[in-house]
């Protein structure tokens, strides 16, 4: 009775047909994106630009040729990792916003191992670097995981603040212990050439880290759909009181998803360091953790949505950079679109659903 409408109606068949569910999912993804582009268009009009022309330019810069597509995929590579790392937590109702910090620390660890180990180790350096980065980042997010699970320390606050700590630590280290003797301020030595991840489509910077990212998305899909732990994590996200009362360890699940999130973030940082920039310097992450969050929200934690979202935001980033070269449009327009997508993605589109069920 307390539940109001939905329970107090006659139980005639109240289920939506299958196709509307698919259409609804597609709309939940595309509507925020469209609305965000609309908001961007308003902004472009306000500064006296023609939004249609700009968007056309962005489209061709994002997907116009094999080279541009490679650039887009290259830009989407770190986002694949950070989006999976975020979604794995969001799915369990753990609002982890600390992926960016874990990504940065993972990148630092990988870069340091990438140049500090003797060259003689050859191809083994890269897996060692990635593995260490994953461990560092996993430990980093394990801390707020334990704080939340055992002491109920709000994870939004702890992970958000840990981002600053991570930036501070990495900034200090690259200016002291790991400071390069040859290349100036705020940066480590360049990693050994043998430690670099291979380029897939030279001269594009697209590297095999992209494949690793795809593997993460696949692994995430498998974990969520096919493992008992993934099932438990979903139940904790649906309703943690319920999960606890059917014998699932809620603290254990929280810590597990935080560790997984850290492992994936660390792998992402390592891939970025070894495949893209070949060293670690201040400003290593261009907000990848936060863009990953936007993607996870937009995708509603689905693997396919993460893939599409990462490519979309990768295209925005790569097109935004070149559009800036060819027009007066500042790169900030991309940030505006990204931010608006995030806002629209979290709007509950209850009143916009195709199927008007028991909504009131």
């Amino acid at each position: 009775m307390v539940d109001g409408g939905s329970e107090n109606v006659v139980a005639i068949d109240a289920r939506p047909p299958r196709w509307t569910l698919a259409a609804e999912n597609a709309m939940r993804f595309s509507l925020p994106v469209l609305l965000a582009f609309l908001a961007g268009a308003v902004l472009l009009l306000a500064i006296g630009e023609n939004p249609v022309a700009i968007y056309q330019l962005m489209l061709s810069e994002g997907f116009g040729s094999e080279r541009r597509i490679a650039a887009t995929l290259s830009a989407s590579t770190p986002l694949l990792f950070t989006a999976v790392a975020t979604a794995v937590c969001f799915r369990s109702g753990v609002f982890n916003v600390g992926v960016d910090g874990a990504f940065v620390l993972g990148g630092l660890g990988a870069a340091v191992i990438g140049y500090a180990l003797p060259v003689a180790l050859g191809w083994t350096i890269a897996p060692l670097a990635i593995g260490s980065a994953m461990l560092i980042a996993a430990f980093w997010l394990w801390v707020p995981g334990v704080l939340l699970a055992k002491l109920e320390v709000d994870e939004v606050v702890s992970t958000l603040m840990l981002n600053f700590v991570a930036l501070g630590i990495s900034g200090f280290l690259v200016n002291s212990v790991f400071l390069s003797e040859t290349s100036g301020n705020n940066t480590t030595e360049t990693i050994h050439e043998v430690a670099e991840l291979s380029r897939l489509l030279p001269p594009s910077t697209l590297h095999s880290g992209f494949l690793l990212g795809l593997l993460c998305v696949l692994g995430y899909a498998f974990w969520t759909q096919r493992t008992p732990q993934g099932f438990e994590a979903a139940l904790v996200g649906f309703n943690n009181r319920f999960a606890r009362s059917v014998g699932i360890s809620v603290p254990g699940t929280i810590i597990l998803v935080m560790i997984i999130s850290g492992l994936v973030s660390g792998a992402g940082g390592a891939a970025h360091a070894l495949g893209q920039v070949h060293k670690f310097s201040d400003g290593f992450s261009a907000g990848y953790g936060f863009t990953g969050m936007a993607i996870a929200l937009l995708a509603r934690n689905s693997a396919i949505g993460i893939l599409l979202g990462a490519i979309l935001f990768g295209a925005l980033a790569s097109a935004g950079t070149t559009v800036q070269l060819f027009s007066d449009i500042p790169l900030d327009i991309v940030n505006v679109i990204e931010g608006t997508v995030m806002i629209f993605a979290v709007v509950e589109l209850g009143r916009l659903t195709l199927w008007r069920g028991t909504g009131q």
Binding site: M1, E7, N8, A11, I12, D13, F231, N239, F242
Partner: protein, 530 residues
Amino acid sequence: MSATIVQPRGSVEIRIGANRIFKSYGSVQANRNVSISVGPRQIHAVVGENGAGKSTLMRALQGLETVDGGEVIVDDLPVRFSGPQQAISEGIGMVHQEFMLAPELTLLENLVLGDEPTRPSFGFLQTVDWDVALGEARQIGERAGISIDWHRSTSTAPVHIQQYVEIFRLLRRGSDVLILDEPTAVLAPQQVEQLFGLLRQLRENGASIIFISHKLQEVEALADHVTIMRKGETVASASVDEMNTSQMTRYIMGENAKAAQQTRGEPGRPKDTGAPLAKITGLNAHTANAQQPLYNISMDVSCGEIVGIAGVAGNGQEELIECLVGLRKAQSGSISINNAELYNAENASFRAHGQGYVSPDRAHEGLAKSATIEANVMAGSQREPAFLRGPMLDRTAFRKEARARLDRLDVQYGTLNDPVSSLSGGNQQKLVFARETARHPKLLVVSQPTRGVDLNGIATIHSYLLSHRETGGSVVLASEELDELMFLCDRILVMSMGRFVGEVSRAEFSPQKIGELMLADPLPQKAANG
């Protein structure tokens, strides 16, 4: 008692009513051609199964819902409410099952909240005049013949006092149409009588009262008129003198009436019992009410018996159940099942030792409402070897078992991928039973198993519990439905203020005896200060 606390509004034939109301949500018709008319000086009962459309009708009467067809009638004339505010100004008020009081305020503050008497101060500001408020409160209590400590904090006030405050708040604002949604669910039998006394007095003063209930004996005892709803329609409306409870049951159930009657019957004698299956000794634990923790709780549960736990809501039953299933940490004591000590163990350990748990809070603990039916009925079984292939879930076996479980308890559902919220209340609860009994637990800990469940669902659940007992299983059953406890249990333990105050065996069951125990004050008397 002669002074009135209701201000009736002139003489009309129909104070509030509905004429041929239609309301649908999507493809679902919640109300079809529903009519009701309630005169002044009338207590009008509305009965029907869950999902019969009672709440939709009440929402329409309060202006919370715009109807698709038909009209709401106030004072003999059709009205179209612009919103709930208008209904309130027409004198229509509702007492919900979940009280709308702010727990951290005092009873007096809650009484006047939103309509405080004020006096000017500093010339232009208004401050609340608490003296006037207290005067009004005392007057209203006196006239109703109920003494209330108005400065008491609401969270510590007994439930029946909170209910009075809810009613008084409506009266104070000039409501003379009161809609009460299952008001007796939280009361002991003696308190029910007291409430009925007040409601009868209000009727004499001219009030119109709509009384939603599923306890037909209460309808018979209190109401003048009864309207019965089924599947969104009004199927009968008559004076209570003209209709007995078995006729009402037939109207409520429709063609399903027989199904429910079959399970009525005395349970047989308990099976021969050896050593107790579960043993609780000297358990102490915190409760929601800091003054009344669980104190020195001891009980045994043998094989093949149903042990009931009775008490007025909020006297520690919920916390005791939580301790019994590993969802609340105790301070001291011992809980063992099958001789395994499980004091302060996790829920998973209790389950591993053969326990199943049916939560009183189906919406928030018994189910994950937005998850699929499959996930809900299989939750907790995801690590059983039968459903694993290596480290992976065997989805085929998983789904097959889900179907088998749902079929065993006769749950009506669409597909396994539908959200569990698409099921009716009764089917949801049957799903919970399907999950909790799937592993053939020896001990079922069951709390409020039929809350918000329709009569057919109740019949299924009751017969399931009895058959569980017949096959040597044990049940600990906490319920606010005394009838249910007396029907199912072999003995009933009564709680008051966090303690056991008595045990009643089946031969001695009577509402009076159990009710007296429910109201007992087991605390050592304090120094005489009133």
